[in-house]
Symmetry: C2
Subunit: 361 residues, 2 copies
């Protein structure tokens, strides 16, 4: 069978060798006679799986000891409420960097709990760029500054980590989590859904500096209180055990890949190839995002002639290039090329794009 | 290899034929070339999986058309907050039937949002029985009546469905969900974590009568608003796709087993065998729960001589009878015998218990 390349924005492609490992031990994890899905979360076997997953994530990212790693549920969308409920800490206002669909959703939810200030917005640039940091109007009294390091829908990615002084920096890193090295110590809190670079949907990872815990708003559900969850080592109730196990295997895979620095290099190479194909298509394809802010993870592009869209998607599928249709909000195409997408997948796509342009140009 | 029987209280044993199916199609679901874990939740393939899972659950339980089925995250513990946040509907007070650990936790969380009335308590009977319905002090003005149909820790199960007149009945059915037929139309809302009788941890199922939706408290996180989740068909954000898929396979397995009526018969048979072994052990084993309220799912028992506990657990493990140690809160033993535990597993356990009693009696 011709290999299938899956460009879904998430849930998304997983490393094949991880899936093979999961398949192999699906009914009997390490001679235990049990599937990981059947193990008590408080049993010896799963406690080991959970501990290793955290250890490996800490090693991959270089997470300092004064940060807690939480394995939660509910997706980034739950974090849109959970972050303000926990991090307002007696302050009234939150600074947001507005760069597109997901940062706007985070802002909308935060308005339930505090005052939302737009410290900078990409609106004037049609949300095709990150506003220049020198123009940001940060409030030194803000509870925190929130930004979305990669806008999955529009493919706008921060090429830098913002500087916010003493105000904690909070990042929705869902769609470029673990795609490049980051200095965790620059952040107050990082969160992300697992279903892009980490593992199955249904797992959300939060990395939070310890001193920010313990001041949740009254009325915060217990399951939304970071401190409770941290003190219970993410096992205040039953965690999403199987998703944690798969994530743990992905962290080990990342280490075998050479870690974040090596993974970043491959991501740069893959993205460069795809953007080059778009930019050298003499206008047949077009990416609206300004070059310095083009995402390495989600590559949105349009055909000059939209009437060809349907045919493009159909012919791509015939070549086993799947899920390249853009988000229903934006239209056009979007190829998501997360860590687990091999270079061969991007080559197959660009080669198809060139053929298609030639046949319809 | 001798078969392993896993008596974990949850996550718990899954049907072997379901696990084999999952294993077989782990890398390639129905020729799609993708693992279910890799599929966009909005793609054709997963939309079909999700629709079938709901259809099959509706068929198995006979869920009326005016009830919505939600596939959520966060476990029953999240529901402890979510239910009052959505179902107070301008009322101030909630009636609880207090029967043990889990109902108490639900009450504790509900106190954040409204007044908690204890309409009946098992305290006087040492939480070893459900208080007689004729003694309940129900408040006709209550927003709803909440009960825990099966207390997983202490093994106390309701042998009846309460009658609450016009006041909606809410049930935490986590640990006996789908173990017997229930008339859904008697309930306002049913909720349960999946990790007992349904599938992997990380999936929570809520069945709610439509007229109860749409009156969430101000400040309710969007992800805690049933109406938002119902209107988005449980896809307001990315749902726990893989867990939903496994649950869907379990629902199909249940249909092949003959449905809830047939499953209930097997559960009655398994529980009877285990309780009989305890009761005819001449006091070597003891179950404190009063007979009419003994759980068919979680069977707690103690050895008269607690000094033998450790040896009992060790010898059981040597016979591949796993995870029978009681909850750390209660001590003693607990054998959970959910739907997927075959009769052979219970026979292996009772045969071991008889041997152990003979050797140490």
């Amino acid at each position: 069978m011709t290999p299938v390349f899956n460009f879904s924005a998430g849930p998304a492609v997983l490393p094949r060798e991880v899936l093979l490992e999961v398949q192999k031990e699906l009914l009997d994890w390490h001679g235990s006679g049990m599937s990981v899905m059947e193990m008590s979360h408080r049993g010896r076997e799963f406690m080991q799986i959970a501990a290793e997953a955290e250890e490996d994530l800490r090693a991959v990212m270089g997470i300092p000891a004064n940060y807690r790693v939480l394995f939660l549920q509910g997706g980034a969308t739950s974090q849109f409420a959970m972050v303000p409920m926990n991090l307002l800490r007696g302050k009234t206002s939150i600074d947001f960097i507005e760069t597109g669909h997901w940062s706007k959703l985070a802002m909308k939810e935060a308005r339930k709990y505090g005052q939302v200030r737009v410290a900078a917005s990409g609106e004037a640039q049609g949300y095709n760029a990150v506003p220049a940091e020198s123009d940001w109007q940060l409030d030194p009294q803000a509870a925190y500054v929130h930004y979305t390091s990669n806008e999955t829908l529009s493919g706008v990615e921060f090429p830098f980590v913002p500087h916010t002084g003493d105000v904690p920096l909070v990042c929705d890193m869902s769609s470029n989590f673990l795609s490049r090295p980051v200095d965790v110590s620059q952040f107050g809190l990082i969160y992300g859904g697992a279903q892009k670079n980490i593992g199955p949907a249904g797992l959300t990872i939060v990395i939070v500096r310890e001193d920010l815990l313990g001041q949740a708003l009254p009325g915060t559900p217990t399951m939304f209180d970071y401190k409770v969850l941290a003190e219970a080592d993410s096992m205040y109730n039953t965690p999403p055990t199987f998703a944690m196990y798969v994530a743990g295997l992905v962290f080990k895979w990342m280490q075998r890949q050479g870690g974040l620095k090596a993974i970043e290099q491959r991501n740069i190479e893959k993205a460069a190839l795809l953007y080059e194909t778009i930019d050298t298509s003499a206008g047949f394809y077009h990416c609206p995002v300004e070059k310095p802010f083009r995402s390495r993870m989600n590559v949105p592009f349009r055909l000059a002639d939209e009437r060809l869209d349907e045919d493009f998607i159909k012919q791509a599928a015939a070549r086993n290039l799947l899920q390249i249709k853009g988000h229903r909000v934006t239209g056009g195409m979007r190829a998501s090329i997360y860590n687990a997408m091999p270079l061969e997948g991007v080559k197959a796509l660009t080669s198809f794009m060139q053929d298609f342009a030639r046949n319809h140009g």
